[in-house]
Symmetry: C2
Subunit: 102 residues, 2 copies
């Protein structure tokens, strides 16, 4: 990805049971990927319900717009009511990156 760009780190712990979560999570990733400035997403959840999702964006404005998106707002509200025990959101500027591939 071309710098400068931004990462949103979403760490969370799920409540018990699905309550429509899996379907909504899929929809949100699909919808996010259609937004202006979306660059990509990495998402992992383990068997104990602890998850980290990192999405990558062109600008802070793109991140704000996605946060304010109507369908995403509904998902955020359901997240607090039903799906999450706790979560943290950190909005970050990517300063440098490197990688490895076999």
């Amino acid at each position: 990805m071309e710098k400068p760009y931004y990462a949103v780190i979403f760490t969370s712990e799920r409540t018990e049971g699905d309550h429509g979560y899996d379907e909504m999570a899929k929809q949100m990733i699909e919808l996010a990927s259609q937004q202006p400035g979306f660059l990509g997403v990495d998402s992992v959840r383990n068997e104990r319900g602890v998850g980290i999702t990192v999405s990558y964006w062109d600008s802070l404005e793109d991140i704000e717009q996605w946060k304010a998106h109507a369908a995403h707002q509904i998902a955020q509200e359901k997240g607090k009511q039903q799906w999450y025990e706790r979560y943290s959101v950190r909005v970050c500027k990517v300063e440098r990156e490197y990688g490895f591939e076999k």
Copy 2:
């Protein structure tokens, strides 16, 4: 955590088999937590071997020092030789954060 601070996002895919990985991963998290400037860590891997670890640090210098730590260097080398199919490291400045807890 008090701003400004930094996050290192490590996304990876493991190779098949353990090859001493679990023990070394535990040791590295314990060792990292003893380094100057270490603020915390979130780490998740799923059943398909895809993982995200985010560590939090006071400064870019602290991150550099941890990267250069002798025991960590050995782990990084074994990581490339044996443990990882691929990985990405992104060093980020945390611009803002918020959270939710039930």
